[in-house]
């Protein structure tokens, strides 16, 4: 218990250190308004990382989240263009549904055909993006084609925080509740921690993985609409390569790629850590050419730290050693 808590504490410490470092070179970065902006900018990563966390927890991986995001985003944009009257709540519901459907396709292939998740999502990743191309013939949907309400939703400011940021907060809270306080949430841990034993407690491993993919897909779909509305553009390649950022955020947040270990707090902090780096590097005058190497190094260092903290000690058999521990 102390171990996991301390892992999150380390991460919080690292984030504070990072902020202090950035502030020493550019004090404006830590003003409340800018921190809100950074948080809002990181919101998509947080939402996706939470979905990915659930999937990784069950010993799977979802490489198709960014493609799912792009496809759902495009569909929302196209609907908005053709039927500007469709209200935003309907679009949000649609995005959730469509995303969940794509997640379900992944989950179904993993569950019923027992194809390894990495293979399934590697395949669907290219397929989903391809479908966008087929839908649009590659053309973009631009800002001026979208309705004002469509674009306004994620930006709407409530109590100083844009809706996009609020959604990340709400998703975090909901997932926090689901993971710790529902049977399904605990099943995710059980399936990832010990799939064999999960069967003994009446948990259907495949079905649980399926549901993890559905959640991940649903969140990717939601992010799809938010993304497209926020950047006011939709095209085939939006969020290209973002799936790796999402996995990286999880890993930095202490989610074990081997399954069974994860915390909602960790995933959120991992995403924030990456988000802050991404936002800070341009403003503290780090040459754009250094940014990629720095985020790569950050990932490696974070993972090394995590594994140090999580290394399991051997069995203690000797009575004398028990006290020394």
């Amino acid at each position: 218990m102390t171990l996991l808590k301390s892992r999150e504490a380390i991460l919080v410490g690292a984030i504070l250190l990072l902020l202090a470092l950035v502030a020493s070179r550019f004090p404006g970065f830590v003003t409340p308004s800018n921190l809100v902006a950074v948080f809002t900018d990181t919101a998509p990563l947080i939402i996706l990382a939470l979905g990915q966390m659930v999937v990784i927890l069950t010993r799977s991986i979802d490489l198709s989240v960014a493609a799912n995001l792009a496809l759902t985003g495009m569909v929302c944009a196209l609907i908005n263009v053709s039927f500007p009257g469709v209200p935003v709540p309907v679009l949000v519901a649609l995005a959730l549904g469509l995303g969940a459907l794509m997640g379900a396709i992944n989950g179904f292939l993993v569950w019923k055909l027992t194809i390894p998740p990495i293979v399934v999502t590697l395949g669907t990743m290219t397929i989903f993006r391809g479908v966008i191309f087929l839908l649009t013939n590659g053309s973009w949907v631009n800002s001026h084609q979208m309705s004002a309400a469509f674009k306004a939703f994620p930006r709407e400011n409530i109590l100083g925080l844009p809706v996009l940021g609020w959604i990340a907060v709400i998703v975090t809270l909901i997932l926090g509740l689901v993971m710790s306080r529902t049977t399904l949430g605990r099943a995710f841990f059980a399936v990832g921690g010990n799939p064999h034993a999960a069967v003994y407690t009446g948990i259907n491993v495949g079905r649980t993985q399926f549901l993890a993919f559905v959640i991940s897909g649903m969140l990717a779909g939601l992010t799809g609409y938010l993304w497209v509305a926020r950047y006011a553009v939709a095209y085939v390649d939006i969020a290209g390569g973002f799936e790796l950022d999402v996995v990286a955020a999880c890993v930095i947040g202490g989610v074990s790629i081997a399954g069974g270990i994860a915390t909602v707090g960790g995933a959120v902090l991992g995403a924030l850590f990456l988000g802050i780096i991404k936002n800070a590097l341009p403003v503290i005058d780090v040459s754009p050419f250094w940014q990629l190497a720095i985020s790569g190094a950050a990932i490696i260092i974070a993972v090394t730290f995590n594994s140090r903290a999580g290394r399991s000690k051997g069995r203690v058999i000797l009575k004398s050693a028990e006290h020394a521990q």
Partner: protein, 508 residues
């Protein structure tokens, strides 16, 4: 001993249950009856099908044929939750628990108390879990993570989990295997209490003293078949053993007299920071040295350290007079010390690879030319050793995973013998294999010793230890506590040293 009247109708009954696995008929039309307020002992050798019955009763396996009856009504348990909803709960042989979850969550996974909005009521769950733990006398905090508990505590958590369900039938599959004396006594009291509450109990154990202490009735299985059932009061131990094994016991250990020669292996001062301390012994040519101890005594850990899987912090080995430094199993194999691991599926065999490749894997450096494998030699070597062990397999290129447990064990033993070792360490060599194979393995061990090989045999089975060893080292909590030979070698002394009880019978 309870002399409860046999009630008219059983709470739970199995009628002609059959369960087949690829290559194994685990259950062959067995019957079993459990009565309210009575403890039924299920007795049978390793692999007799006892655990399979448990899994069938708890919804983990679906029987291929036969009926499960509760109060005379046919029932089906498609999942584990259905069984527990029907009031059947079990402590499984393997600990089916989750390291990353708290003790309370482990106990209530799948049936946690719900509060508002259908969310898990963590306070209530924690409180209930603690109450159950306290009730069975386990000094465990329900809030800690399971991975911080030792093996005995884990078993207690498993027991608590079984009791967290409102059950009519409680099944215990070797619940005392990993418990200390004190905890075992507490478990017996618990069983008595459950009995008094009118629950039907199925108790599986290999320990006869235990069976006679708590069971009212017995049922015996052999090789997946029902052999007999009755009142404990009406049967004697020897008779039960005969039912179980199918013949008298002394035939199982065909130990031949081997000529014991010069010192071969000398181990001095072997220590590890947390696992074991100051292990020292000599092993002679042609000798079978037994290592006895309770589960978790640290025997496997020591042996694995000896062959370089884990590095010892201190210690020295001399083999045939020469000092050897062993840093990895490769070094050990090169030196002529081989270890046949306890965990066949994880450490011994590579289940998805063909038999011949399994057998030749550690011998490849010797078998190959310039690093190139030579298939013909491989087949020849594999045939030589598997046929000697009387392996039953369709062909040498079928995968090991498709063999039965006993045949898998033969492949694993063949694999290590094929390296032509000087010292062979067998860790629980007959665990989970059937009688026939067991005898073959014992016979073979004997033969090896008589050919001049030095054998170390780790075993938790007293008859095996007594029947096969020339000398026995007893380990407890990571230390050597006794070295027994000749007349000192009796079941009583073994148990006494292993459990840490002084000759007057008190806990040391």
């Amino acid at each position: 001993m309870g002399h409860a009247q046999t009630p008219a109708a059983p709470v739970l009954a199995l009628d002609g249950i059959t369960k087949t696995f690829p290559g194994v008929k685990a259950l062959d039309g067995v019957t079993l009856e459990l009565y309210a307020g009575q403890v039924t002992a299920l007795i049978g050798e390793n692999g007799a099908g006892k655990s399979t019955v448990v899994k069938t009763l708890t919804g983990i396996y679906q029987p291929d044929g036969g009926r499960i009856l509760m109060d005379g009504e046919e029932v089906r348990f498609p999942t584990a939750q259905d069984a527990s909803a029907a009031g059947v709960t079990a402590i499984h042989q393997e600990t089916v628990l989750f390291d990353e979850l708290s003790v309370a969550e482990n106990i209530f996974l799948g049936h946690a108390p719900k509060g508002r909005f259908g969310l898990i009521d963590r306070k209530a769950m924690h409180k209930d879990a603690q109450a159950i733990l306290d009730g069975i006398g386990a000094e465990i905090d329900a809030g800690v993570r399971l991975k911080d508990l030792g093996i005995a505590s884990r078993h207690l958590v498993a027991i608590a989990r079984a009791l967290s369900v409102e059950a009519r039938v409680v099944i215990m599959d070797e619940p005392t295997a990993a418990l200390s004396r004190k905890e075992i006594e507490e478990l017996y009291e618990l069983v008595d209490a459950l009995k008094a509450q009118g629950k039907a109990i199925l108790f599986i154990s290999h320990k006869f003293d235990e069976i006679f202490r708590i069971a009212d009735r017995y049922t015996v299985f052999r090789d997946g078949q029902f052999i007999g059932a009755g009142e404990m009061a009406d049967i004697a131990e020897a008779e039960l053993v005969k039912m179980m094994v199918g013949r008298s016991v002394d035939q199982i250990f065909p130990k031949r007299a081997a000529e014991i020669g010069e010192d071969v292996l000398l181990v001095a001062g072997y220590s590890h920071p947390t696992e074991f301390e100051d292990i020292h012994f000599t092993l002679r040519r042609g000798e079978i040295l037994g290592f006895y101890g309770l589960v978790g005594a640290g025997r496997s850990e020591f042996m694995q350290s000896l062959i370089g899987v884990t590095r010892p912090s201190k210690g020295a080995i001399r083999l045939n007079g020469k000092v050897r430094v062993i840093r990895s199993p490769a070094d050990a194999i090169a030196a002529g010390i081989v270890y046949v691991p306890e965990d066949r599926g994880k450490q011994g065999a590579i289940l998805d690879m063909p038999i011949f490749q399994n057998v030749t894997l550690p011998s490849l450096p010797r078998l190959s030319k310039n690093g190139f494998t030579r298939m013909a030699e491989e087949f020849a070597l594999a045939r030589q050793y598997t046929e000697r062990l009387d392996l039953r397999a369709a062909s040498l290129d079928t995968t090991v995973g498709s063999l039965s447990g006993g045949n898998q064990q033969k492949v694993v033993i063949a694999k290590w013998l094929a390296t032509q070792p000087t010292v062979i360490i067998l860790d629980e060599p007959t665990k989970g294999i059937d009688i026939g194979s067991k005898a073959a393995v014992h016979d073979f061990m004997s033969e090896l010793a008589s050919e001049g090989l030095s054998v170390i045999m780790v075993s938790s089975e007293i008859p095996e230890i007594l029947g096969m060893s020339d000398r026995v080292i007893v380990m407890r909590e990571g230390r050597m506590v006794a070295e027994l030979e000749g007349e000192d070698l009796t079941p009583e002394t073994l148990v006494r040293h292993a459990a840490g009880i002084s000759s007057k019978g008190e806990a040391a």
